[in-house]
């Protein structure tokens, strides 16, 4: 019920409520424009200098061409890492909701909340582990195998 009460408050909002957002947008545009204009005005364009050709700040001097091929396995492992990493993010809202004890009053009682939360996490983990099992069986994590 409290969710609905919050909704009615929100429904009365005006475009003015978005003022901070527009301020942020203005600042972002201003920052970008300042940098572009400043570099345009101050920068000595077309004038070569040793400082301009050197690697930027903490960069290391390039030894070979960057356009070499490297194994697609890097991408595969990176994608799998991101996938499982992002899935784990789901634990956080779940844990917060579980720990907060259902402030919006969606569930009848504590037990109903616990039953639901447990069942949902088990389903989620089941799907997650099935995906992991599939990845292992497909040998996507075997670095040596072709």
């Amino acid at each position: 019920m409290r969710a609905i009460a919050a909704a009615t408050v929100w429904a009365d909002n005006t475009p003015g409520d978005y003022l901070p957002l527009f301020l942020l947008l203005g600042l972002a545009v201003l920052l970008g424009a300042t940098q572009l204009i400043a570099s345009h005005v101050l920068g000595k364009r077309g004038v070569p200098s040793p400082a301009k050709d050197s690697a930027y700040e903490c960069g290391i001097e390039a030894e070979t061409s960057a356009h070499t091929r490297f194994s697609v396995k890097f991408y595969l492992v990176a994608v799998l890492f991101i996938l499982f990493d992002v899935e784990v993010v789901f634990f956080f809202p779940w844990a917060v909701f579980f720990g907060s004890g259902d402030p919006a009053g969606i569930f009848e009682n504590r037990q109903a909340l616990m039953q639901f939360a447990f069942a949902e996490m088990m389903v989620f983990l089941g799907i997650l582990f099935l995906g992991w099992y599939w990845v292992v069986k497909k040998r996507a994590l075997d670095w040596e195998e072709a």
Binding site: N13, Y18, W134
Partner: protein
């Protein structure tokens, strides 16, 4: 509204189970024994469709307690709704997936790897489509639509060694991500405007007043972004750019699934959102907002003209079908333009006919390209002599797409035009005229293909023999196209009931 009612999502449970089972089997079976997974998928989709039919029978039984309660049942505490509209579309999605899986069966024999993945992705996309029919809020809308779309990204680039398939996949994923970001931003603005993600929040009298008279600018802006995001999915101009390339690059069964399943999912959501914006009675809100009416009319007219004119110059049959699919999105948007129950019924009938027509044509494309190794329309010359059955299915399919009686496509177009002309406004008449022009243009490029099949000599006289599974698909689609054209009344009645369920949705 507060009950969990978990069993109501039985078709979705079955599909999810089948998808996960396919994953498990795919991990456990050696590469040369993947046929079992296809059977699991087929059985899963069949069961899910039957479950949806069974739910529909219960929903439509006037003596049943459910129908007495307004014809709509909720599950998952109001986040999932089931009415005649949802059931109608779920059955359409189920039937199209069954046909696509049958189409893919003979095609997969020529593919040396990834059978399990293809089946899994198809099942998950179908799961998304089933959820699309039942979502009741914008969060569900986004998740269900992404489940469909992400599966399709992978399916499009399925032939990973084929340069054009990878290019198509990349284009689709980049433009799709862009469209999704529009959609999410739109949802955020709608939330800002109404304070709730529920479709029901849009359906109040206050919001209808705002929508009709230009109040709540941020809500309008949000809805505009939502329409852009959904317009991408149904390939409406100006959000259509990906369509021809993706249709051409993807494997034919995937293109078939994309042009039927993905498009219908977008249309379903568009109808649900538009319905929510029409006020409690279904005749307020956007239906009275002149700018919105003009906007939909303009998108529809542009889509009709662009799709049909673009198709004129195509030499590749899949590209041509891509442009034709843009054109058909225009006809569907004509139904949306009507903003009433008649328009929705017309769209539902249109989609039913479109499903059988397009899948029949793609079945022919799969069989022919298998032998000729080409998608060039020039290579369809003399098809009538190589295979009378394929030529006949293609003839009926193309004429049905063009809207010639006695095929299903004619009746769909007729209903859409009727709904638009019934509005009686100058805009409606203008849009109907553009639609009629589109029909005339489309007749030309469809008939050019027909002429090639029947009147020109081909390079080869070698007969093309479809496999038994393909014949089953071809005959099913042929039957669908004919029955929907000759005996429309039972299907029209179902479509009308579904449309009235959407209109009265409380």
């Amino acid at each position: 509204m507060t009950a969990w009612n978990v069993g109501l999502a039985l078709p979705e449970w079955i599909l999810a189970g089948a998808g996960l089972l396919a994953m498990w089997l795919d991990a456990r079976t050696p590469p040369d024994k993947k046929d079992g997974i296809q059977n699991v998928a087929w059985a899963g989709v069949l069961l899910a469709t039957l479950a949806a039919v069974f739910q529909g029978v219960r929903l439509w039984d006037p003596g049943d307690s459910v129908a007495a309660g307004g014809g709509k049942i909720y599950a998952f505490r109001g986040h999932y709704g089931l009415d005649a509209f949802a059931v109608f579309l779920k059955v359409l999605f189920g039937v199209s997936t069954l046909l696509v899986l049958s189409l893919a069966r003979s095609w997969l024999k020529r593919v040396d790897r990834g059978h399990g993945e293809f089946v899994m992705l198809t099942l998950f996309a179908t799961l998304g489509m089933f959820f699309v029919c039942s979502v009741e809020d914008f969060a569900g809308l986004f998740v269900a639509l992404e489940l469909v779309t992400v599966s399709f990204y992978c399916l499009t680039a399925f032939k990973r060694n084929d340069e054009r398939a990878v290019e198509a996949g990349l284009k689709y994923v980049v433009l799709g991500a862009l469209a999704s970001s529009f959609l999410v931003l739109g949802i955020a603005f709608v939330y800002g405007g109404t304070g709730s993600l529920d479709f029901a929040a849009l359906r109040s009298d206050d919001v209808a007043q705002d929508l009709a008279h230009g109040g709540a600018p941020l809500l309008h802006f949000g809805l505009l972004l939502v329409v852009i995001g959904l317009g991408f999915k149904i390939a409406a101009v100006p959000f259509h750019v990906w369509t021809p390339d993706v249709y051409e690059g993807a494997a034919s069964p995937v293109t078939a699934f994309l042009s039927v399943g993905s498009k219908m999912a977008g249309i379903t959501l568009l109808l649900k959102v538009v319905r929510a914006c029409l006020g409690p009675g279904g005749d307020a809100g956007l239906a009275q907002a002149t700018p919105w009416i003009l906007l939909i009319a303009c998108i529809s007219a542009a889509t009709l003209l662009y799709g049909n004119l673009g198709a004129l110059w195509q030499g590749n049959i899949k590209r041509l079908l891509g442009y034709s699919s843009i054109g058909h999105a225009g006809y569907v948007l004509m139904g949306v333009f009507a903003f009433d129950q008649r328009g929705v019924a017309a769209i539902l009938y249109y989609l039913t006919a479109y499903l059988f027509t397009v899948l029949g044509i793609f079945a022919v494309v799969v069989v022919v390209s298998r032998q000729t190794k080409s998608h060039s329309i020039a290579d369809y010359a003399g098809l009538a002599r190589r295979s009378p059955l394929l030529a006949f299915v293609l003839l009926c399919g193309l004429l049905s797409l063009a809207g010639v009686p006695p095929f299903g496509g004619f009746f769909g177009k007729f209903l859409v035009f009727q709904a638009v002309v019934g509005k009686g406004t100058p805009t409606a008449y203008g849009l109907a005229l553009v639609g009629a022009a589109g029909v005339v243009i489309s007749l030309y490029y469809y008939l050019v293909i027909v002429k090639r099949i029947y009147m020109e000599e081909g390079v080869s006289e070698e007969p093309i023999v479809p496999s038994r599974g393909m014949k089953a698909v071809l005959y099913t689609c042929l039957a669908g196209v004919f029955i929907l054209g000759i005996w429309p009344s039972p299907f029209l009645e179902l479509a009308q009931r579904a449309a009235s369920a959407l209109s009265s949705a409380s």
